[in-house]
Symmetry: C2
Subunit: 187 residues, 2 copies
Amino acid sequence: MELILYLKQHMILSPEMEAQVQEAFKREELPKGHRLLAPGNFSQKVFYVEKGVVRTYYMKDGKDITHSFILEGAFFISIESAFFNTPSPYGAEILEPGIIRTIPYQDLEKFIDDFQPLQKLSRLVMINAVKTFSDKLYSIQFQSAQERYNSMLEKFPDIMLRVPLGHIASYLGITQETLSRIRAGKV
Amino acid sequence: MELILYLKQHMILSPEMEAQVQEAFKREELPKGHRLLAPGNFSQKVFYVEKGVVRTYYMKDGKDITHSFILEGAFFISIESAFFNTPSPYGAEILEPGIIRTIPYQDLEKFIDDFQPLQKLSRLVMINAVKTFSDKLYSIQFQSAQERYNSMLEKFPDIMLRVPLGHIASYLGITQETLSRIRAGKV
DNA sequence: GTTACTTTTTGATATAGATCAAAAGCTTTG
DNA sequence: CAAAGCTTTTGATCTATATCAAAAAGTAAC
């Protein structure tokens, strides 16, 4: 979803404000597989996924582990870089051709400070981030691989079809072999 | 740490503002074991731990699982109740005699909207919450029970001494038996 | 359509940690 | 200090999922 449309769902934007937003957020059309951020790098950009699916991941013992999928109409930022001034352990890549809007966190913060309705929205975005992690933690801690797979099927049916098995397996915290067996109903 | 002191570390408070805060946050001295929130209940309060340690937990298959420890000088809120208007899956209890400040989330939000410096602080608090979950998720997903125990020893040496073994085990995502064996170095 | 390459599945085996059951250590209370 | 009640430890066994290795299936390239 276009950024402006997204914002308008949450607040009233004056034409001037709208213009300012359009200008402040860089817009890029990117090809499948384009890497937005390499693991270990430093980036204080805020990304908004206008079209496509972004995958964040990190390297663990040489293996590529999916950390999250970011669907259209969602934001993503390296907490480590933007808030803690350390390199981002996560990389990010776009899995399909898509459109990404970016803005330096510093600039966004200025916007937020000056424009009340954005404060509520930014709080909302943060709250959702906390909720997402909290839910995922619960699922890793208490659900079996089978249960996690089932809830992911419910929650992101589309992703399951568009993304290679290995990415999904590592996102679920299991090996590809186990996921394959689960899908085959052999567990 | 006293709430006002905590706030003064992050911003300049006028005497009037200070008085307003003192009044808005109810102050309660509570005995060991006092339950601040029962699992399954609804509460939109924001809690600040001025003294003592608070434990949040939930019930899973009849077992009490520790979700987090909240140390002095930290906030806690039921995301589910305050932000999603659903009952809180988590309960909260104070593990030692202590002092808790509370304010309805609605009231706090008004404060925040009206007082710039609080916006930054509330963002900071949320960011820390995300980071905490993100780290804990990582540890559950990739560290062995032994490694998790070690990092907890480093991070919260005091808690390890003050809290019953069962609470720590469930926090680490393992059984009490396993934790006992780890401590004995039998793993 | 055959070759080469990638992704997925299948099979055999290993292991961290769970579960169940009981013993041993601590606290509290009268 | 003995009885009762918790908390922690120890032991034996079980299970979900990992790991390693190879086969099968799918996709692309010529």
